[in-house]
C-alpha cells in the first residue's frame, strides 16, 4: 500500500448492528487526507453505513470514529452540526429540494450558515454552478434537470461551504456514459483544485481504476482488502477477485440460500 502522510478519517474497531443484523464487525479503516479514496463493496455490504458513521448520523455499537482529532461518535448535536459544515455529502440521487431552483439549492447552506450579503452569496453560488458546468441552469427547478445534472447541482450544493471532506454516495449509479465521464472529471477536479479529502462510495469497479488513488473493499461485514486499484485487481483473494472481475458466482454465491431444489420441486419441501 502507498504510504500517506496524514489520515483524515479513521474508523477503529467499529461494530454496527441494525435491526438485529450485524452490518459491520470490528472494522478498521483509514482514509488518507487530500486524496480520492474509494470504498467498494457489493450492495448491502454496509458501505452507506460507513457514510452515516462518518457524518455522525449513526453511532457505532462499539468502536471509534475519528475525523482528524475529533471523535465523531462522542459529539453532541451542536458540535455535530459544526462538524457537518465541513463535510459535503452527495447523496445517491442528489436529494435536491424540489421546491427550490438550482440557484437556491446551492445558496441554501450559505444562507443558513453564513451572514454573507446576498450579493456575495449570488457570486459564490454562480461560481459553484460554473464549476459543475451548470451556471446556465441556475433558474431551473430540479424537475427540469436530467439525473446527471441533478447530481451536479447537488455536488455544487455540497461544495457550497468549501468543505474539507467530500463524500460521494454511489455517484455513478444509473448515469449515461457522458454524464459518467463528467462525474469522474468533476470529482477529480474538486479533489485536485481544492485539496479536498474525497471518499467515493461505490460498486463501480471500472470507474474507480480511473479515479481513485486508494481503494478498499468492504464485504462480509469487514474490510477484506485495501490498496491501489491496480493492486486490488491483481489480488489472489477469491472474494476480491470475484468482485473486481464481476464474476457472477464465487465466494458470494449466485443463489440466495434456499432449500434443496429437487426436494422443493417434488413437493417434499416444507413450503410445498
Amino acid at each position: 500500500m502507498t504510504e500517506f502522510s496524514a489520515i483524515a478519517i479513521s474508523l477503529r474497531g467499529v461494530t454496527v448492528r441494525l435491526g438485529g443484523r450485524t452490518v459491520l464487525e470490528h472494522l478498521d479503516l483509514d482514509i488518507p487526507a487530500g486524496r480520492v479514496t474509494a470504498v467498494l463493496g457489493p450492495s448491502g455490504a454496509g458501505k452507506t453505513t460507513i457514510l452515516r458513521l462518518v457524518t455522525g448520523q449513526l453511532k457505532p455499537d462499539s468502536g471509534e470514529v475519528w475525523i482528524g482529532e475529533t471523535r465523531v461518535d462522542r459529539l453532541g448535536s451542536k458540535a455535530l452540526g459544526r462538524l457537518r459544515r465541513d463535510i459535503g455529502v452527495l447523496l445517491q440521487n442528489g436529494a435536491l429540494f424540489t421546491d427550490l431552483t438550482s440557484f437556491d439549492n446551492v445558496a441554501l447552506p450559505l444562507r443558513e450558515h453564513t451572514r454573507l450579503p446576498e450579493s456575495l452569496i449570488r457570486r459564490l453560488v454562480l461560481m459553484k454552478l460554473e464549476m459543475v458546468g451548470l451556471r446556465g441552469a441556475a433558474d431551473l427547478y430540479p424537475a427540469e434537470l436530467s439525473g446527471g445534472m441533478k447530481r451536479r447541482v447537488a455536488t455544487a450544493r455540497a461544495m457550497a461551504l468549501d468543505p474539507g471532506i467530500m463524500i460521494y454516495d454511489e455517484p455513478f449509479a444509473g448515469l449515461d456514459p457522458i454524464s459518467l465521464g463528467v462525474s469522474l472529471r468533476l470529482i477529480r477536479d474538486i479533489n485536485g483544485a481544492l485539496g479536498t479529502t474525497s471518499l467515493v462510495i461505490t460498486h463501480d469497479v471500472r470507474e474507480i481504476a480511473r479515479l481513485a488513488e486508494h481503494a478498499c473493499i468492504i464485504a462480509d461485514r469487514r474490510l477484506i482488502a485495501k490498496g491501489t486499484p491496480q493492486q486490488l485487481t491483481e489480488s489472489d483473494n477469491p472474494l476480491v477477485h470475484q468482485f473486481m472481475r464481476g464474476e457472477p458466482d464465487g465466494p458470494v454465491p449466485f443463489h440466495y440460500p434456499a432449500d434443496d431444489l429437487a426436494e422443493q420441486l417434488l413437493g417434499r419441501g416444507e413450503r410445498a
Binding site: G81, R82, L108
Partner: protein, 255 residues
C-alpha cells in the same frame, strides 16, 4: 415485555400516539423564530390556507344554503321562520364552521403536507438537510405546525362568512324574508365571546391537531410509494376522528 404488549389490542395505537407526542415535544423544544423562519411560516400559511380558499368558499356557500333551507322549512311549520338566522349563525359559529372547515382542511392541506414530507423522506431531502447541519424539525416541521394553527382559524372565518352569504341568498332572495329582521335576529342572539370566540378557539385546536397529524404521518411514513399513500390516508382518517372527538370534548367544556 414486547410480546405482552403486542398482544394487547390498544398497544399499537398507544405506542404510535406516544411517538407522535414525543415528536411534537421535540419540535416545540427546538422552536426558534428568526426572520427566515417567519418567512417560511408565511409561505406555509399561503400553501395551507390561501390554496384551500376555493374549496372552503364553495363548501361554505352550499352549507349555508342547505342549512337555511332545512331550518327554514322546519321553523315555518312552527311559525318561527324569523329565527332562521339565529339557528344558522349559532350552528355555524359554534359547530359547523370549525368542524367542517377542519375536515376540508385535512383533505386539502393535511394530505398535501403528509405527502410532501413523506416524499422528502423518500427522496432523502430530510437526510440532506440533516447532513447540511440544518435541522429538519426547525426548517420543515415547525413552520407547518404553526401555519396550521394560523390558517385554519382564518379559513373558518371565511367559511362562516360565505355560509352566511349562502343563508342570506336563500332566505332573503329566494324566500323573501325581511333582510333587516334576518340580520337583527342574528346580531341579538350571537354572543361574541361565547359563541363566536368559542368557535374560533376550537378552530385553533383543530388547526393544531390537523397540522400535527399531517406532519407526523409524513415524517414517519415508510419511504416508498405505498408508505406515502398509506400515510396520506391515515392523515385524513386520524384527523377526521380526532376533530370530531375533540369537538365533543371542547363543546362539553365550553357549555
Amino acid at each position: 415485555m414486547s410480546d405482552n404488549a403486542s398482544r394487547m389490542p390498544l398497544a399499537a395505537p398507544v405506542r404510535e400516539l406516544g411517538r407522535a407526542g414525543l415528536f411534537l415535544l421535540t419540535a416545540f423544544s427546538r422552536m426558534r423564530f428568526g426572520p427566515r423562519q417567519l418567512a417560511e411560516i408565511l409561505r406555509q400559511v399561503y400553501f395551507a390556507g390561501v390554496r384551500s380558499l376555493v374549496i372552503i368558499v364553495i363548501s361554505g356557500f352550499f352549507v349555508g344554503l342547505v342549512l337555511t333551507l332545512q331550518t327554514y322549512d322546519t321553523l315555518t311549520r312552527f311559525g318561527a321562520a324569523d329565527a332562521v338566522s339565529t339557528v344558522l349563525a349559532l350552528s355555524l359559529f359554534r359547530e359547523l364552521g370549525p368542524v367542517l372547515a377542519a375536515l376540508l382542511f385535512a383533505g386539502r392541506a393535511g394530505t398535501s403536507i403528509t405527502a410532501e414530507i413523506g416524499l422528502m423522506r423518500a427522496t432523502e431531502q430530510l437526510d440532506a438537510l440533516d447532513l447540511m447541519a440544518i435541522d429538519p424539525m426547525e426548517r420543515i416541521v415547525q413552520p407547518r405546525l404553526l401555519a396550521g394553527m394560523i390558517a385554519l382559524p382564518a379559513l373558518v372565518l371565511v367559511f362562516n362568512l360565505t355560509a352566511i352569504v349562502g343563508g342570506i341568498f336563500f332566505a332573503v332572495f329566494l324566500m323573501g324574508s325581511d333582510p333587516i329582521m334576518f340580520w337583527a335576529n342574528m346580531q341579538s342572539s350571537v354572543e361574541l365571546v361565547r359563541d363566536f370566540g368559542g368557535g374560533m378557539l376550537k378552530a385553533v385546536f383543530f388547526g393544531f391537531v390537523a397540522a400535527w397529524l399531517a406532519v407526523w404521518f409524513g415524517w414517519s411514513a415508510r419511504p416508498t410509494s405505498e408508505g406515502v399513500a398509506l400515510a396520506t390516508t391515515q392523515t385524513v382518517i386520524a384527523t377526521s376522528i380526532s376533530v370530531l372527538v375533540l369537538d365533543f370534548i371542547l363543546s362539553a367544556f365550553m357549555l
